[in-house]
Each structure stands twice: as C-alpha cells, then as structure tokens.
C-alpha cells in the first residue's frame, strides 16, 4: 500500500529521463549509420590486409593458414625493401625543402599586385593539375638524349654536344626525378603560401617598416610565425605525398637503373602486383602505415606545441 505513490512519482521521472537522453544523443543517433558505414568501408580493408599479412598467400598458393610473424620477420632481412625506404627518404628530404623554398619565393614575388597577376598565377599552377604519370612521361621526353630540349639547351650553352643519359647514368637519375617532382609540386606550395602571406597582418608589417626593420628581421619576427601553421600543414601533405611517390618515377626510370631509384611504393607494387607476394605485400603496407603514423603524430605534436 505504501509503495503505490512511489510508483506514481517514478513513472513520469523515467519518461523524462528517456526523453532527455534521446534529446541529448539525437545528433549522434542520426549520424551513427553514416559513421558505421564509413568505418566499415575504411576499416574493413585495413583489417583484411592485417589478417592477410599473417597468412601465406602468394601467386600460386591461396594458403590462408596462420603464418605468425613470418612475413614481418622477413621485412628485416629484405635489403631491397630498406634500400627502397632509403631512396624514398632521399627524394623526400631533397624535394620537400626545394618545393617549399621555391613555392615561398614565388609567393613572395606574387604577393604584390601586378599587371596580369591572375594569368601568371593560373599558368604557374598548371603543372599541379597534370597527372603525375603524364608529367613523368613528358620529362622523359624532355631528357631524351637525342631529341630532348634539355640536352639541346645544355649543348647550346656549352657550345658543344652535351649528351647526358638522365635516366641511365646514376649521377643524373636522382636530379632528373627531383627536377620533375619539384617542377610539378612547387606550384602547390606556392598557392598555399600565397594564401597564407595574403593573411599576414598588414598593420604589423607597416609598423615594422616604419621602425626601419630589415626584411630578414620582418621575415623572422612577423611573416614566418604568421604563416607557420600553413607551412606545417603544407609540408605534412607534401611529405606524405613524397613518401608515396610512384607515378613520376615509374614513368621516368621504372625504379632503375637496377633498383637505384626504386621507392617504397614501387617496391610494394612490384611485390604485390608483379610478383604476387600478397601476404608479404600486406606486411610491407603495414610497415609503411606504422612509419607514416609515427611521422605524422610527431609532426602534429610539434605543431600543437608550437601553437
């Protein structure tokens, strides 16, 4: 008999709680199906690759038995893999600062209003919209020892025939790749940095000018701190792209001479789709994912600290 009033009071309370919970979480409930699908689409291949990396699947064997860490142990013995990682690092370490520097200089040049600025900017950005495989093929023709304009210009400047085997001679093969890479992607840096420079506080620049600060002082004290977040993001995007570089090298050298310019992407492709080492390729992919995750985390952490 004593319990009935209590029941009467709790019923509406429960109803209110459910309603409030529903109200609080409605946005999450609405987006939940989309997130679930995204996770499935994004995670499934990752999880599947992870499973495959612990199996024995090759060209002729569909052996899905558990291989333990065999494929991962193999990674440490594979000298060609580490060489490919080294080649990737060389290209990244040289091309990234060059692209940044050239992009910055171009942005500085175009920050002031000038006649035909928009047209020049549009023309300068053209290489970025070309497919990398086309850029590589075009530069292969440009470097051709008989008909390529690069050789002809160098011969004209030298006053005698200059015959450089850009895609064969070990001394020139990296410069060839880096020239092509920098030609194509410096405009990307240029665009981002042009936007960043446009947003630098003009009043600070004017005040510095009135105070008689030198350009280098202004650059160090005002411009660089202002554009630093954009530079960091631009370097991160291009750095990740460079680690995955494939098309340009495939078109220019196919990783040659020998395996001298074989990057990690080329090597992964060859292992996976030419030699059908499916499980081993999955292990390589996870090694690359791990490396990129570490690098990205470190960069983001640094950006966070800087902020």
């Amino acid at each position: 008999m004593m319990s009935s009033p209590a029941i009467e009071t709790t019923k509406p309370a429960r109803g209110r709680t459910f309603g409030r919970v529903l109200e609080d979480h409605l946005p999450y409930l609405i987006i939940a199906p989309a997130i679930l699908i995204l996770l499935l689409v994004g995670l499934f291949p990752l999880v599947y690759s992870l499973i495959v990396s612990f199996q024995h699947i090759t060209m002729t064997e569909n052996d899905t038995s558990f291989a333990g860490l065999m494929n991962y142990a193999e990674l440490f013995k594979d000298t060609r893999l580490w060489a490919a990682l080294g080649h990737t690092a060389i290209i990244t370490v040289i091309a990234l600062p060059l692209e940044l520097l050239i992009g910055f200089l171009m942005a500085q040049l175009f920050i002031d209003r000038m006649p035909g600025r928009q047209l020049f900017v549009a023309l300068l950005v053209l290489p970025t919209v070309i497919s990398p495989i086309v850029a590589g093929a075009t530069w292969r023709l440009m470097f051709d020892v008989r008909f390529g304009p690069v050789g002809q210009i160098l011969s004209f400047l030298a006053g005698e025939p200059v015959r450089i085997l850009w895609t064969v001679n070990p001394a020139y093969v990296y410069p060839a790749i880096i020239i092509c890479e920098v030609w194509q992607w410096s405009p990307f840096m240029f665009l981002l940095l042009l936007a960043a420079l446009s947003n630098v506080d003009q009043s600070q620049l004017e005040a510095a000018e009135l105070d008689g600060a030198s350009y280098l002082r202004v650059l160090r004290a005002i411009i660089l701190p202002a554009i630093a977040p954009v530079v960091a993001v631009a370097c991160l995007i291009r750095g990740l792209d460079l680690v995955r570089i494939f098309d340009i090298i495939w078109a220019l050298t196919e990783g040659g001479p020998g395996s001298m310019t074989e990057t990690i992407s080329l090597y992964t492709y060859i292992q996976g789709f030419s030699q059908f080492e499916t499980s081993y390729t999955a292990a390589i992919a996870f090694l690359v994912i791990a490396l990129l995750t570490v690098i990205t985390t470190l960069v983001l952490k640094r950006m966070e600290l800087a902020r």
């Binding site: 001679n169 070990p170 395996s259 030419s274």
Partner: protein
C-alpha cells in the same frame, strides 16, 4: 560368318562415311561448323595491346563473327601486365576472360595454378592433331605442353634475326679495306668477336652518318640477348644438382663485359633505346646491323608502308638493301612468343576453344601472319613455304628461309616456376650494367637473387621443373 562379314563391312562403311566429311574439312572449317551452335554468344580474349590486337579487332574477330555469329570482345592488355591480369582473373574466379594469349615461359606457373584449361580433349574431339604437326618443331615441341598436357597452341614465331645492310657489306671499297685490316671477308658475323670488329670498323669509317650497329637496350630485349649469348658461350644457369645459380661464372662476366663494350661503336645514347628507337635508326639507315624480331625485316622492306596503323613506323630508307642472317654463333633466342589458350574459369570454354583452333589453323593463321600491321610472325612450315607470302617483296624468300632456319636453331627462353622473378632479376642486372656498375658485382647480385627466388619457390620443386626444361633440345646448345 556371312552375317559377321556383312556387319563388319557395314560398320566399316558407316565409320568411313562418318569420317569422310571430317577428313574433307580442314581444322578451320571444322571449328566454324561446330561453333555455329554458339551463335549469339560473346567470347572475350586477352590480347597484347597495340599493334598485336589489331588482328582480332580488325580482321579475325569480325571474320569469326561473320562465319559463326559469335562476337569477340578483345581485352587489350600491355605485355608486362598480361600475366598479372590473367592470374588476377583466375584467383578472383570472375571468369572475365574466355581465351588468352599466354607467353610460353609463363605456362608452368599458369598451368600449375590451374588458370589454363587442358586442351587435349578438344584437340581430339575437333580433329586438330594433324594440323598441329605443321607448326615448326621449335614451337610445337617446346611451347605447347606442360607436364604432358596441351595448354596452348603456339601462335607466334618469335625469334631473333640479324639484319644487316647489304649495300655496305657488299661495297667493294669497304670489303677491300676490311679484309686488309682483319684478314677475312666482310660478311654477316659468325661470332661476337667478328660482330665487334665489323661494328667498330663501320663506325670508324662511316659515323656519324652510319654506325656499325644499334640494339634495343631497354627491357626486355637485353635479357634475351644475355640468355642467348651466355648459353652459346657455354654458360649454364644453374647447377642441376643443387639448383644454385651459376650465372656469375666467367662466362657471364665475359658476356656482360662484351655487351657493355659494344655500346661504344653504337650511336650515342643507345643505352636508352627501346624497340621503336632501334627500329627507327635501322629503317632510317643510321645503323648497319641490328638484331630483333621478324617484323623489323618486313617493315625494312617497306611491307605495309601504306597501312594507317603503321604510320608511326618511319618510312624505310633501306628497302631492298637489307640482308637477313642467323645471329652470331648461330643459335638465336626465341624471345617471348605467344600461345593461344583457354581460361580455366571461362564460362564458354568450348566456344573459346573453337575460336583459338580456327585462329591457329593452317588456313586462318597463314592469313594472319601476312597482316602487315600486326606482329604475328610465321610459325608453321606451311607459312615459310607459302608461295603467296614468298612473293610479297623481292627478298621475302630469303627472309622466310632465315626465319625458318632461326626457328629451327632457336634457343628457348628460360622457363621455370615464377619465371617473371628471374626475368626481373636479369632485367635489373642489365639496367645496372648500362649505368656503369661493375659486371662482376651485378652478376654476383643476380646469382644471389636467383638463389633467393629458388629458395622461396622450393629447391626440389624448381629442380624438377628445371630438369624438364634443360632436357629440351632448345634449352642448351648440344
């Protein structure tokens, strides 16, 4: 007894009568008749992209459809991706391809994987065995079977030929000067020492207008040249007892050193030359000797020069001036080739089989190897002897005789399990050679790579396959 005799005679008459129509018809007609029941279906065939595929696109595909009502869908795939695509289709079980073009050295891998349909039952059912005997022995005996079963019909007489400029070799002043210097006649080289001497001599006399020789130096040709020269100088790829690679022997070193040295009397930049660069140089008269596949000979003679599809081929400046010979040391590499096969996952196996029997038959193949715009080379005894083919240009008889002789003496491409990996190691080795790396270092590296591949495939498995390959008459010079 009379009854038995009567029944026996009746059976004989019945059998003869039944067999008579088949005996009257050739393999092409039999395939067409049998295929009519599949009229309205579509079969797909994997074909090498580019000129090769103009055969089924422009000629054989439409003709087959007209004869049988079966449509042919041509799936063009670049050569270096064909193996991958075929295997991917098989592994996925998609059955996207019905008929296939297969490079013979891939046959062990594809057959063992189960990707190719054994063809023996169809060959017997449609009476094709007799016509298979017309295929030149080098291809028929070496490129048709794996483990005693037919998996493909050899359909392309790929083999390397030496092409040389007759006008230069027969020039009295050149002949006299050459004999005075070297003590023997200026003639197609019998060995590589002669090749080097002749090449250097012509370059010294005529460069930069004409160089002694030019070669296709980018992948895949140089690895076939290495295979041929290495074996002809006495080299063996493996120790048959241990399956350890023996390519880094003194013979390997000699061959690589010679190959590298030969670039010096070839046009500058030859290290970068591909098939077309080399073709253009020879057709424009810039090189006096080259070694390549049979289409060079046809195009050098101007055969097919009016064809739209061949507009990219430079107009031959050397028509009527080209001689044909065996490559130095007389045993040329067969170099690639194509088989026609049926995919094990095809849903139209019989229709696909009938199409490839018709394509490969004496009658149809003779027409196909004469198509000027495709790259199919003569591969049947009847092709070499064809009066029609021999009258196509003045030197065609000499050309066909040399193609035939080269085929008869041809050396097989190395064909092991996962051959593409050994091929890749060889290709990388040659590429490093052009880049100036020490030949001994790169040969040692190639041997290590060979051993690692063998280890991974399984030494005993590979040993068994190598034993079968090495026992073939075209594997090593006797």
């Amino acid at each position: 007894m009379r009854l038995m005799t009567f029944l026996g005679a009746a059976a004989l008459v019945a059998l003869t009568g039944a067999a008579a129509p088949a005996a009257d018809k050739d393999a092409a007609d039999i395939a067409v008749e049998a295929a009519k029941k599949y009229s309205g279906t579509t079969i797909s065939i994997v074909w090498e992209a580019g000129l090769q595929s103009l055969d089924p696109l422009n000629y054989s595909g439409p003709k087959w459809e007209k004869l049988t009502g079966i449509k042919v869908k041509v799936v063009e795939v670049p050569t270096d991706q064909m193996f991958t695509k075929i295997l991917q289709d098989f592994k996925s079980g998609a059955g996207a391809y019905d008929a296939l073009n297969v490079i013979p050295s891939w046959m062990p891998d594809l057959a063992r994987a189960g990707a190719l349909e054994p063809l023996d039952k169809y060959v017997d059912k449609y009476g094709y065995r007799d016509e298979l005997q017309d295929i030149a022995a080098a291809y028929r005996d070496n490129q048709m079977q794996y483990d005693g079963k037919i998996y493909g019909f050899p359909d392309d007489g790929d083999v390397m030929l030496l092409y040389y400029r007759k006008d230069i070799f027969e020039d009295p002043k050149m002949k006299e000067a050459f004999k005075a210097k070297f003590g023997y006649e200026l003639a197609p080289p019998k060995d590589w020492k002669q090749f080097d001497e002749i090449g250097q001599f012509i370059t010294d006399k005529m460069a930069p207008k004409v160089y002694g020789a030019g070669f296709f130096r980018t992948a895949p040709y140089p690895q076939y040249m290495f295979q041929e020269r290495f074996r002809m100088e006495g080299g063996k790829f493996f120790n048959p007892d241990t399956m350890k690679a023996t390519v880094n022997s003194d013979v390997g070193l000699k061959v690589l050193t010679q190959m590298k040295a030969e670039n010096k009397f070839m046009p500058p930049g030859v290290e970068q030359w591909n098939f077309v660069d080399n073709l253009a140089a020879f057709l424009q008269g810039t090189t006096a000797m080259t070694i390549s596949w049979p289409p060079y000979g046809r195009w050098a003679a101007g055969y097919g020069s009016g064809e739209e599809a061949l507009k990219w081929v430079p107009k031959s400046q050397v028509a009527g001036k080209v001689g044909y010979a065996l490559t130095p040391l007389g045993r040329p590499e067969l170099g690639v080739g194509f088989d026609l096969s049926v995919s094990a996952t095809s849903k139209n196996k019989e229709a696909a089989y009938l199409f490839i029997q018709w394509l490969n038959s004496k009658k149809t193949s003779l027409e196909r190897v004469q198509l000027p715009y495709t790259l199919r080379d003569p591969f049947r005894i009847s092709h070499y002897a064809s009066e029609k083919y021999r009258s196509v240009w003045p030197d065609a008889p000499a050309y066909l005789d040399t193609v035939k002789l080269s085929g008869e003496k041809g050396l097989l491409d190395l064909s092991l399990l996962q051959q593409d990996k050994y091929d890749e190691a060889m290709t990388k080795t040659i590429s490093s050679l052009w880049a100036g790396e020490d030949p001994k270092t790169i040969l040692d590296r190639m041997a290590q790579q060979f051993d690692a591949i063998t280890e991974k495939v399984g030494v005993e498995n590979q040993k068994a396959v190598y034993k079968v390959w090495a026992a073939k008459p075209g594997a090593y010079p006797q």
